[in-house]
């Protein structure tokens, strides 16, 4: 081969090499570099040749590099070291150097290889190994399971020394808790090249138990053959114990909840996944499938169509604004049964963000059904009592109508009789009397009509207590008169309250009626109605000549069907309904025990107060 051709070959290798080839002179400059240098470091050849080599080297490595150069100058003919070079983009690459010095010229011929990636991997491995050794219970075994290496943590937790452990198998710390099949399964898995992880209960030298979460890893050689195993373990004894306690507590809680028919639930806001307690499944009659948790849409489907928007909105507001809720709703179980339930929910924050919504669910079916029935019955009772009172009134009201009717009829007859002789003044006077009597009848009929009306949804309106009381007196006056009872009344002119006027009139009529009945056997016959006021309330007291009600009866008089009247004389619903109506108005009724006579005192909140409260 001619020399030129030979040179040509080396030049080609020089240009092709992925390793970096260079010649450096004794002044510390590159003299020749191959293209790989510019590719790896990003500088142009001119840049690399025009600056001292040390300029490109990591400041921390400058001394080391200078020393290596010095070694070459002092007679060593070759060098082998690593240092870091600055890339044009200002990051550093690690190079492994191999070079020798040519004695005569003093030129240094060197080869560098970019080992940056290798160094990274090497470092990572070192850190991992250090972390494992420091932070875990670490052991290595040979292929047959004989311990070849343990760290201090292993010794500390097991109570055995390194000498005692190495050369032994893990049978030394077997707790006999796990069946043989447990370990043969582990061996089957790791010897087939897979990683096994799980919790193992072990025994210390002193006989105490400890729990470890273990990862067992088979290690292969370059022929894919298992050479040994490493075991990485974490002490979970505390966790296991607290988990044990937690499960026990959960079990107790679950039993308690079951007895109280209270279920619990939690929803993960991000996923909509619901977690239910056993009792929740039971209440909603949903079959519990292991590993399957219901999702929000399915949960919502469990309510009847009318209630779905209500619960949906409540949950939405809980998620959006953190508002808590409590609702009585009807659920439709998968079997199709309708069931009343109470459910509440509240938002749970983690780091200021709503992560979950949780709450309880309660079976209130029996209570609710009873309540609904009770309300229906109560409504019926109110109606019955009203009609009973109306019946009692009608007889005496008839008298009140018949009197003016008699006047009308009589004066009409007089006008007929005197049709030719009567003076215009006479006719006017008589017809005025007729009209006045008509007004009297109209008035009483109106009161009756109002009293007997049974519209269900009557709005509360502003009414004058004075008017309500006078109308109640119009209705009861005939009866009062019949029983020769003297009624006195003192009003406050301005006494507006917010109420259902028909109901409040019914209350006053009822109380007057009761007073009339109470007076039937007494010689003294009077009723006083007095309206007074405090800053908060208007107070209506209705007092009759009867003696005060004995304390032991004061509680029961407001109960339904309590009556002192003879059979057939009263329904016994009057006062219970009076109290019911007043409760609905935020008014209070009580018996004034300071009065020697029977005195019922009602406190009506004043209109302004009520508005403010609302």
């Amino acid at each position: 081969m001619p020399i030129e051709a030979e040179q040509n070959i080396y030049e080609k290798f020089f240009n092709l090499s992925i390793d970096m080839l260079c010649v450096a002179n004794t002044t510390g400059y590159f003299q020749t570099i191959n293209p790989s240098f510019t590719q790896v470091l990003g500088y142009s050849e001119e840049e690399l040749l025009s600056a001292p080599i040390l300029d490109f080297i990591h400041p921390d490595d400058v001394d080391k590099t200078a020393q290596e150069f010095a070694k070459l100058n002092s007679g060593h003919d070759s060098l082998f070291f690593e240092n870091r070079y600055r890339h044009k983009n200002n990051h550093y690459l690690t190079f492994a150097w191999n070079g020798y010095i040519e004695g005569d010229s003093g030129l240094i011929y060197a080869v560098a290889r970019d080992i940056t990636e290798q160094v990274k991997v090497r470092n990572k491995l070192q850190y991992l190994q250090r972390a494992l050794a420091q932070e875990t219970i670490y052991a290595e075994t040979d292929i047959s399971g004989v311990i070849t290496k343990v760290n201090d943590n292993f010794c500390e937790i097991s109570g055995y020394s390194k000498a005692e452990l190495i050369g032994n198998t893990h049978k030394l710390i077997n707790s006999d808790h796990h069946p043989t099949s447990f370990f043969s399964e582990i061996w089957r898995k790791i010897s087939s090249g897979k990683i096994w992880s799980g919790a193992i209960k072990n025994r210390k030298k002193n006989g105490d138990y400890y729990f470890v979460q273990s990862i067992l890893v088979p290690i292969f050689d370059n022929n894919e053959k298992i050479t040994n195993y490493i075991a990485i373990r974490q002490d979970i004894t505390d966790k296991v114990n607290s988990e044990h306690d937690r499960l026990k507590a959960l079990e107790i809680l679950s039993e308690t909840s079951s007895a109280a028919k209270v279920g619990g639930w939690e929803m993960d806001v991000a996923s909509g996944a619901l977690t239910w307690t056993n009792e929740t499944f039971r209440i909603l009659d949903v079959e519990q499938v292991d590993g399957l948790s219901p999702m929000l849409p399915e949960g919502l489907q469990l309510f009847i169509a009318e209630d779905q928007p209500i619960i949906e909105k409540a949950i939405h507001r809980a998620i959006e604004f953190g508002e808590s809720y409590g609702l009585e709703l009807q659920a439709r179980t998968p079997k199709g049964d309708i069931k009343w339930i109470y459910t509440n929910g509240k938002a749970n924050y983690i780091d200021g963000k709503i992560e979950t919504i949780s709450g309880t669910i309660q079976d209130i079916h029996q209570r609710k059904i009873t309540e609904i029935k009770y309300n229906q019955e109560r409504q019926k009772s109110i109606m019955n009592a009203k009609f009973a009172a109306l019946g009692e009134l009608s007889a005496s009201v008839a008298h009140e109508i018949n009197n003016p009717l008699g006047v009308i009829s009589g004066y009409a007859e007089l006008l007929q009789l005197t049709n030719t002789t009567a003076s215009p003044e006479d006719i006017l006077a008589k017809s005025a009397i007729i009209l006045r009597s008509c007004d009297r009848i109209t008035h009483i009929v109106k009161s009756l009509k109002k009293f007997s009306r049974s519209d269900e949804a009557i709005q509360h309106t502003t009414c004058s207590l004075k008017n309500l009381i006078s109308e109640a007196i119009v209705l009861t006056r005939p009866k009062l008169k019949l029983c020769m009872i003297e009624l006195q009344c003192e009003y406050i002119e301005e006494s507006n309250i917010l109420c259902n006027e028909i109901e409040i009139e019914q209350v006053i009529v009822n109380l007057i009626n009761n007073a009339i009945d109470a007076l039937s056997e007494l010689s003294e016959k009077w009723i006083d109605i007095l309206v007074t006021e405090t800053t908060q309330d208007y107070i209506v007291s209705i007092t009759d000549a009867g003696f005060t009600i004995p304390l032991d009866k004061q509680l029961s008089i407001f109960e339904p069907f309590f009556t002192t009247k003879n059979t057939g004389e009263g329904t016994g619903l009057g006062l219970s309904i009076v109290k019911g109506i007043l409760d609905n108005h935020g008014a209070k009724i009580a018996i004034d025990n300071n009065n020697k006579n029977t005195s019922f005192v009602i406190h009506f909140p004043k209109l302004n107060n009520k508005v403010n409260q609302d």
């Binding site: 005496s396 018949n402 009197n403 006047v407 009589g410 004066y411 009789l417």
Partner: protein, 118 residues
């Protein structure tokens, strides 16, 4: 001799009307809105006919009728729906009544009264 008639009713208007309609030479009418003077008058004057309203100011019609010792014809006037007539009354007239009917009733009573005299 005019027939003596008494009307006791606490309703002033009815008393006035009664008087205006029935007052004549044949009828000597006295009306009372209070029961006591009515009872006193009747016991002193022994009228032929006494109309007594059931519902009065202090007493009811039955009590008033019993308080009158005379053998007058006593008629109960009532606007109540369910007042049973006491034996001390001879007749019962329900309110609202027609004054014409009352007048006829009085005329009939006079005839009845006249018969034994003949």
């Amino acid at each position: 001799m005019p027939i003596k008639v008494v009307y006791i009713d606490d309703e002033e208007m009815l008393c006035q009307m009664f008087k205006e309609y029935l007052h004549s030479d044949e009828i000597n009418l006295a009306v009372f809105t209070d029961e006591e003077p009515g009872i006193e008058y009747c016991n002193n004057n022994n009228p032929d006919l006494i109309f007594i309203d059931y519902r009065l100011k202090k007493q009811n019609g039955v009590e008033v009728a019993k308080a009158i010792a005379s053998d007058s014809i006593k008629i109960l006037i009532t606007g109540e729906l369910d007042v049973t007539m006491d034996a001390c009354f001879d007749h019962k007239i329900e309110k609202p009544y027609r004054l014409a009917d009352i007048k006829n009733f009085i005329i009939e009573a006079v005839k009845m009264k006249a018969l034994p005299n003949q």
